[in-house]
Amino acid sequence: MNKALFIISLQHELAMAIGNKLDLKAMLKVFLKVCFSRLNLTSAHIYVHCDHSGMPRKLAALESKNYQHLLSIPKNKIGQPWQQNSVLSNFAEQLNHAQQNISFRCKNDHFLFGFIIPDHGLLVFETHYALADEVQKALLPILQKLATSCYTSLVHDSLVKEVHSRQLIEEKVAYQAQHDGLTGLFNRQHINHLLTNAIEDAHSSKHIGTIIFIDLNRFKPINDAMGHTVGDKILLTLANRLHSLSSDHIDVGRFGGDEFIMVVKNLNFGYQDAISQLISQINELLAIPFVIDANSYKLSCSIGYALFPLQSSTVNNLIKFADIAMYEAKRAKSKQGKQYQPAMSEKIKRRLAYVDDMKRGLEHGDFKLYYQAQYNHYGDIIGAEALLRWQHPVHGMESPGVYIPIAEESDLILAIGQWVLEQACRDINKLEQLTLPESFKKIAINVSAKQLNQHDFQERVLHAIKQNNIPAERLALELTENLLVENIEDSIKLIASLKANAIDCSIDDFGTGYSSLTYLKRIPASVLKIDRSFVANIEQCNESAAIASMIISLGKTLKMNILAEGVETAEELNCLKVLGCYQYQGYYFSEPLPFDEFIQLLN
């Protein structure tokens, strides 16, 4: 009677020990511990069915009856994990094969009793006594319950994993929503959000804040010349450096491209000093060379900032103001950064109005092409450079030095460039109707960076030539050295392709850029134009003469013609001749002339 009671009690106790934990291993350990103590076991072991990756699975879901050791009490046997115990391992294998309860008497008179946890695994008890049949039978319903609990744990486990992976994805999405993919800094959207909060805080705490706009100077040439991989590494390095400045009061973000932004909160009356100090720190971080793939790059930046709530309390305005201030700093080449001033906006308004004037000028035919003849050392006209002139309705004749940079900042330069191309082609067509001197070869037009970046630039040029029915060799393109360097690989391809279509290119303003001689060798240009800055007073300035001489010998080596710009005096001409330069352009020969006058000059 008491034995029966004991078995019922045992069943009850074991049954109640099942399912107390949700994690499979923890749940089975609780059960195994109760078995161990209530059944006076010497050791106890559980194996579970697993898939090929070792994850516990229900047997029905598996192709084979794979199983793995999960846990043992005690953990080891004479210094070895139980998994390495051959007696136990062989027994477990037999048990798995048999898929029914088996027992085995060991050499030390201990017993092994094996039970099946239906569909989930194997249970092995080591005892110092023979486990009574009725106890073994009493375990069967318990093991069925254990199997159900195993399944619950597996389902729970997969749910936990799913929830965990969902959490990870949600965290990732949340992170991505707030952070820039390349640098890991806050992105523009999140910076807007942070700035909104910072503005509110500033109002409530009566503090001052600032938004600092940072733009790298001359980053594009590096990106273009060295590739985006290097550019990205530089941006990442810079981001890490800027991030070192972040704190409870300073958030750092990437606004886009090579633009970074900082939101600075909780400034007090000494805000000007604090901002200056921060800008100095930014410049110091920039001053450290960027060593990427064993190459060292030096970078600088332009910084603008606007104050909140002093200058505005809206996010868009503040960012716009800081951006405007940054552009002012860039124009002024200021390293100290510039605080936004309303006058800057006025300037921009004027600039926009000026752009509108240009648009109208283009529509009304106020732009004209003037031609400055180019000569050889015999005094023959060998060609001309087409130069743009604008008769402003109010200001009169505008200097190209004023309106070209403004046009370049907007897309208007594309419309102007296209007009120049077409007008030059029309003029060439007219010239073709005349009897031209034998020495006259071609008309050169200047090409801007934005034009060159047009994916169909070459088609546009060829189309203009075709439309005006002129020989392609009559047209030449002048590209500045800086423009070439900014996108060197594409430039080389384009120039080669144009050359294949009989259109020559010359490199303008040579000597003012930073072109690598390695690249120069690969540029299939026909003419190198010595910049006027080296020509002016060349006979008096040894440095200019030395540079000109270097350019001349370089051109000879690369089999390019050399043409000196801005020749204004006989002395300059003589000096250039002595140095070996035999093509010239400048007021000494002829000023830029309206087309009709240029025709007369030709005649």
């Binding site: 109760v34 209530r38 006076n40 005690p74 080891n76 110092h128 006594y129 009574a132």
Partner: protein, 378 residues
Amino acid sequence: MNTGLFTWHTHSDTLCDFKHGLTIAQNSGAKSLLVLTCSQNHYPEDKLSSLLSACPLTIFGGIYPMLTLQNTLLKQGALIIGFNETFDVTVFSQLHQLSNEDKLEDVITTTLEQKKNYCGHDNFLMFYDSLLNNIEDFIDCLFECLDHEINIAGGGAGSLDLIQRPCIFTNQGLHSNAALLVTLPSKLSTGVGHGWRIFQGPFLVSDAHGQTVQSLNYQPAQEVYCQAIESASEHRFNNDNFFDIAKNFPLGIEDINDNLIVREPISADNNHLQWLGNIPINSMVYLLESDTETLISSAEQAAITAFSTASEITSTSMIFDCISRVLYMEDKFEQELDVIAKHCPTPILFGVLSLGEIANSASGAICLLNKSTVISSW
């Protein structure tokens, strides 16, 4: 092998006399000292701690309600055993802070790694603070983590008033909430007996947590316990006599081989019963009873077992006998010591009257016992 080298004891309860004994022990040529003192001594804790810390020899032991030497009971005083080996002593301190299995496992695993899993050491004595409420979790975890089977005997230190005070001795002084594991230089033989038999039951432990039983058969535990005793005996509980009656009726957890694991009641509070060891929830338990003769007989059987399995080179015998047996048998307890001494072949027989005993079960696991006699010999 003659492991026992030196014995010194005193019936005096003064620290001065103890200090004298300790000095003699230090000069005896012994390398390790097992120091046992009675909880009724008047030893200032700080001074005792300083004495222990100042001792250049390895020290282990503790404060127990009473001690035994040969067949004599020491209700106060001290006992020092000197060994000519340097014993390895491991202290597991602040165990009460290891509130879950994972923390316990971390500490034990780390310690075992430091001790190289006690490789080559299979025999241990254990001294621990009896008021550690997670001592069973500790020994279970120790057994799980040890990578070889061990022989062990031990007993809980402390005092009969069940107020926790520092009661474990090491060279760092006095400790509470600590357990000591001492490696022995030769094979340990043990015999275990309790002499308790089923009186009432079974009862289902329907609600319990650790050492506290809230309900038996879904009724308040104290009510069920008291009613069961009152219905079958002449004992009647009142507000003051719970322990006086309960010491005669411990709880028994029956195992699959019909062995009883005895649990001693230590208090009743708010209809809950507190025991000196865990009572598993959902287990079936019995009320036990006994008589002096049976108890003494069980001790004699334990002695016969311990001494008959001991090897010839055994020289030291130590008893961990439950203090409740003294309280139960009163003057007749010395008869138990007599029967043990009668069978003892070693020149040195001593022991402690403990609050909880430690021994291996027949399966090899480490068990916390109550109201039992653990006789060890090495």
